[in-house]
C-alpha cells in the first residue's frame, strides 16, 4: 500500500507536468487544427529563461533562507512562463502566420513546426550547452518531506508541482469559459470564418492562444527543470508524452488534456514498476495505454471538442 502510494505521488507529479504541456497542444489544435510540434521547445525555453533569472537572483543558492524559497519558486514559474510565452508568440509570427496568409496546405504547417522545433533546440544548445543534466542552483533542500500519508512520503517539490499545475489549470478553465478572450478562442475553434464575421480578430485570437499555451508550457518547463534537469533537447520526450496525453483525453478538449496528462503520468509510474513488467518498458506502457484507449474510444476519454465549451 505504501509502495502504491509512493508511485501514485510520483505519477501525479509527472502527470500534472504532462497536463500543463498537453494544454498547449490542445489549445492550439483547437484554434488551428494543427499539432504545434515546436511546443516541446517552447516548454524547454521556459526552463532556460527561468534559469537565467533565478541564477542571477540566488547565485549558487547557498544563501537563500527558507522564507525566500516560495518567492524564488514563484519567480521561476513566472519567468519561465513569460519566456516561453514570448517564444510561443514569436513562433506563431515567424513559423505559422506567413503560411496562414498564403493559405498553405496543412502539411506545410507540419514541416514548419518540425523545422522550428529543430531550430529552437539547436539554438539553445548553441547559446548554452549540450550537456544533459543542467541543474538549477540548489536554493532549497529538494529532499525535504512535506508530509507523510500511510507511510508514503510526499516531498515539498512534489506538492509545489501538483499545486502549481492545479492552480494554473483552474485559472485556464475560468479564462476559457468566463472571459471575452475565452469566448473568442472558443468561437474561432468552432467556426473561424463565422467568428470573423461576428467581429472577432482571428489573428489576434490565435496569437493569444499560442501565448497562453506558451505560458503554461514555460511554467511546466521551470518545474520540470527544478524537479529533474534541463537541457536543449529536454522537450522531446515530455513533448511526445504530453501530445499523447492530449490525444488520450480528447484533442482540443481542455479538461481532457488535464485528465489525459494525469492518467498518463500515473500509469507510467505504476505499471512499469510492477514486479513482472520492468522499468525499461515505461515508454511502451504509456503508448499501449494510448492505443487501448483509442481502440475503444477513438476520440479520447472525454471526446474531441472543438469549440463547444471545453
Amino acid at each position: 500500500m505504501t509502495q502504491f502510494l509512493n508511485y501514485l505521488v510520483l505519477g501525479l507529479t509527472r502527470g500534472s507536468l504532462y497536463a500543463l504541456i498537453a494544454l498547449g497542444y490542445t489549445l492550439v489544435y483547437g484554434v488551428l487544427q494543427l499539432i504545434n510540434f515546436a511546443h516541446s521547445e517552447v516548454f524547454m525555453s521556459g526552463a532556460f529563461g527561468s534559469y537565467l533569472v533565478i541564477s542571477a537572483v540566488v547565485g549558487n543558492g547557498k544563501g537563500t533562507s527558507s522564507w525566500e524559497v516560495p518567492f524564488v519558486m514563484l519567480l521561476g514559474v513566472v519567468t519561465g512562463a513569460v519566456t516561453a510565452g514570448a517564444i510561443a508568440w514569436s513562433l506563431e509570427r515567424v513559423a505559422y502566420r506567413p503560411l496562414r496568409r498564403r493559405n498553405a496546405p496543412k502539411l506545410a504547417f507540419l514541416i514548419s513546426a518540425i523545422g522550428a522545433s529543430f531550430f529552437l533546440s539547436q539554438l539553445f544548445g548553441k547559446m548554452f550547452n549540450r550537456f544533459t543534466n543542467n541543474q538549477f542552483p540548489p536554493f532549497f533542500n529538494d529532499n525535504s518531506v512535506a508530509f507523510t500519508i500511510a507511510g508514503a512520503q510526499v516531498r515539498v517539490i512534489q506538492v509545489v508541482d501538483i499545486l502549481a499545475a492545479l492552480v494554473m489549470m483552474v485559472l485556464l478553465d475560468r479564462l476559457v469559459n468566463k472571459t471575452k478572450l475565452g469566448r473568442s478562442i472558443r468561437a474561432v475553434s468552432e467556426d473561424a470564418p463565422t467568428a470573423a464575421l461576428m467581429g472577432i480578430d482571428i489573428d489576434r485570437t490565435i496569437s493569444r492562444t499560442f501565448v497562453i499555451g506558451g505560458l503554461l508550457g514555460g511554467a511546466a518547463g521551470f518545474l520540470f527543470g527544478l524537479n529533474f534537469s534541463f537541457f536543449n533537447t529536454m522537450g522531446f520526450l515530455p513533448g511526445v508524452k504530453a501530445f499523447a496525453a492530449a490525444v488520450l483525453g480528447g484533442i482540443g478538449n481542455i479538461r481532457g488534456a488535464m485528465i489525459g496528462g494525469l492518467l498518463l503520468g500515473i500509469v507510467e509510474n505504476i505499471i512499469p514498476t510492477l514486479p513482472w513488467v520492468g522499468t525499461e518498458w515505461t515508454d511502451v506502457v504509456a503508448f499501449i495505454v494510448l492505443v487501448l484507449v483509442l481502440m475503444f474510444r477513438p476520440t479520447g476519454i472525454l471526446g474531441e471538442r472543438l469549440g463547444r465549451a471545453a
Binding site: 507529479t13 529532499n143 516531498r155
Partner: protein, 414 residues
C-alpha cells in the same frame, strides 16, 4: 481525422528518431563549466609541425612523421576528446623539444564527433595521409568498431586510450590495441568487490551497449558468487528516475550498481537520495566524471566508481605530466588525459624502434607496437596478441565532498 493523427504520430516518431540519434549517445567525458559552452582548447597547435623538420640539425635525416588522432573533438562528447588530444599534443611537443632526434613528429587530428556514422570518413582522412604512420584512438568504442577494418587493411597501428567495449579485440581488427581494461574486466572486478560485502544487489542499466554490457557482467559475476541480483533497465533518455529509485529503495538491496553514463547517473543519484535509499551506490567508468559530480551535488557523495583509469591529479607517477599539462593548457588533466599521454608516448617509442631498424613504414610501426614494453604513468604498455593490454589494473574511486578520489586497486580494497 484519425488518419490524420496517425500520420502525424508517424511523422513525429521519425523526427524523434532523428533527434534521439543526435542526442542520446552518452558521454563518459569530463566536465565543462556550468552553463557556459564547454570550454577547452580546440586550437590545433601540434608541436613542431612539418616545417620544423628543416631546422633540425645533426639528425640522420630531416625526416618528419605524423601521429594521427581520431576522436570526438566536436559535438556532445567533445570534452573527452579534448582531454585526450591535449595530452597527445603534449607528448609530441615534449618529444620534439628534446634535442638530437632523428626525426620530427606532428599530430594530425581527425574529428569523428564520437559518432560511428562519421567515423569512416575521419579514418579515411588519416589513412590517405601517407605521412601518418600510427594512430592514437579511436577514443570511443562505436567509432572504433566502424573503422577497425579499414585501419587493419591499411596496416595502421592503433593504440586507443579509452575504447573499452569487449568485442573490439575479437572483431578481426588486427592493428587495434588499447591500454585500458575492457568493460568485462572492470565489471568482473566490481562484482567481486560487491560480492565480498553484500548478499543482495540491485543492478540497473541504461539499455545502451556500454551500460547494459557492464551491468550484465556485474550481474553475472554476482550471481556466480551466490549473491541475489535484482535487475532493471532504465532507458538512457529518461529524465525522471523517481520510479526506479523508489523500486531500489523498497527492494531492501544492500547495494546498487548502475551501468551507464555520467549525466544520467547524476540524475539517478539525486532520485535515490530523494527516495531515501541508504545502501551503497556504485557505477563504472562511464559515470566517473565531473559531469556526475556537478549534476548530482551532495547526492553523489558516497558513490563508488570502478575505472581502469588512473587519476592524474593524485597518482605520484603522473606528477611531471600533471605539471606540464597544467602549464600548457591552464587546466588540470582530466578523465583519460593520462591514458592519452601514455598511448602517444608508446606510439612514439614504436616509431623510434621502427626508425632504428631501418624504415618507418606503417607496417614497421605496427610490428613495433606489438613488441612494445613501455612503462607509462598509468600502466605498463605491453600488449597480448589480441591487442589487449597485458597488465590492467582496475581502480576504485569514491566521491567525497563533491570530489572523486582514488582509493586504489579494487582487488586490494576491503
Amino acid at each position: 481525422m484519425h488518419k490524420g493523427f496517425f500520420t502525424v504520430t508517424a511523422v513525429m516518431a521519425t523526427a524523434g528518431a532523428v533527434v534521439l540519434t543526435g542526442c542520446s549517445s552518452g558521454s563518459s567525458g569530463g566536465g565543462g563549466g556550468g552553463l557556459s559552452s564547454p570550454a577547452g582548447s580546440s586550437s590545433c597547435t601540434g608541436g613542431g609541425g612539418l616545417g620544423g623538420g628543416g631546422a633540425t640539425s645533426g639528425g640522420a635525416s630531416n625526416q618528419s612523421y605524423k601521429i594521427g588522432f581520431q576522436g570526438a573533438l566536436s559535438g556532445d562528447n567533445q570534452q573527452l576528446g579534448i582531454n585526450e588530444i591535449n595530452a597527445v599534443k603534449l607528448a609530441v611537443q615534449q618529444f620534439n623539444a628534446k634535442g638530437g632526434q632523428p626525426f620530427k613528429l606532428s599530430v594530425e587530428t581527425s574529428d569523428d564527433a564520437g559518432d560511428a556514422a562519421k567515423a569512416p570518413a575521419a579514418a579515411q582522412q588519416l589513412i590517405q595521409d601517407s605521412a601518418v604512420v600510427g594512430v592514437v584512438g579511436p577514443i570511443f568504442s562505436g567509432p572504433t568498431s566502424a573503422t577497425g577494418k579499414a585501419y587493419a587493411a591499411a596496416n595502421m597501428a592503433l593504440i586507443s586510450p579509452s575504447a573499452t567495449n569487449e568485442d573490439l579485440t575479437k572483431s578481426g581488427f588486427t592493428t587495434f590495441h588499447r591500454i585500458v581494461p575492457t568493460d568485462g574486466v572492470e565489471g568482473a572486478a566490481a562484482a567481486d568487490w560487491l560480492a565480498s560485502k553484500f548478499k543482495k544487489v540491485f543492478v540497473v542499466d541504461d539499455t545502451t551497449v556500454y551500460g547494459k554490457g557492464v551491468a550484465d557482467v556485474v550481474a553475472a559475476g554476482l550471481k556466480k558468487k551466490g549473491v541475489t541480483v535484482l535487475r532493471q533497465g532504465v532507458p538512457q533518455n529518461t529524465q525522471d528516475y523517481g520510479a526506479i529509485a523508489q523500486k531500489v529503495t523498497s527492494s531492501g538491496a544492500g547495494a546498487m550498481f548502475y551501468g551507464g553514463y555520467d549525466a544520467q547517473a547524476a540524475l539517478f543519484a539525486k532520485a535515490l537520495t530523494a527516495a531515501g535509499y541508504k545502501g551503497l551506490r556504485m557505477t563504472g567508468n562511464g559515470g566517473k566524471s565531473e559531469v556526475f559530480t556537478k549534476g548530482s551535488g551532495s547526492a553523489g557523495n558516497g558513490w563508488y566508481f570502478s575505472c581502469g583509469c588512473q587519476d592524474a591529479t593524485t597518482a605520484p607517477e603522473a606528477k611531471a605530466f600533471k605539471a606540464a599539462y597544467q602549464q600548457a593548457y591552464h587546466t588540470p588533466p582530466s578523465t583519460y588525459s593520462p591514458e592519452g599521454y601514455d598511448a602517444t608516448n608508446a606510439m612514439i617509442q614504436a616509431i623510434e624502434t621502427a626508425a632504428k631498424s631501418g624504415s618507418v613504414t606503417r607496417q614497421a610501426v605496427e610490428a613495433a607496437v606489438n613488441k612494445l614494453d613501455y612503462k607509462g604513468i598509468t600502466t605498463t604498455v605491453k600488449f597480448a596478441p589480441s591487442g589487449e593490454v597485458a597488465q590492467a589494473t582496475v581502480n576504485l574511486y569514491e566521491q567525497k565532498n563533491g570530489k572523486i578520489v582514488e582509493l586504489g586497486d579494487i582487488k586490494k580494497q576491503k
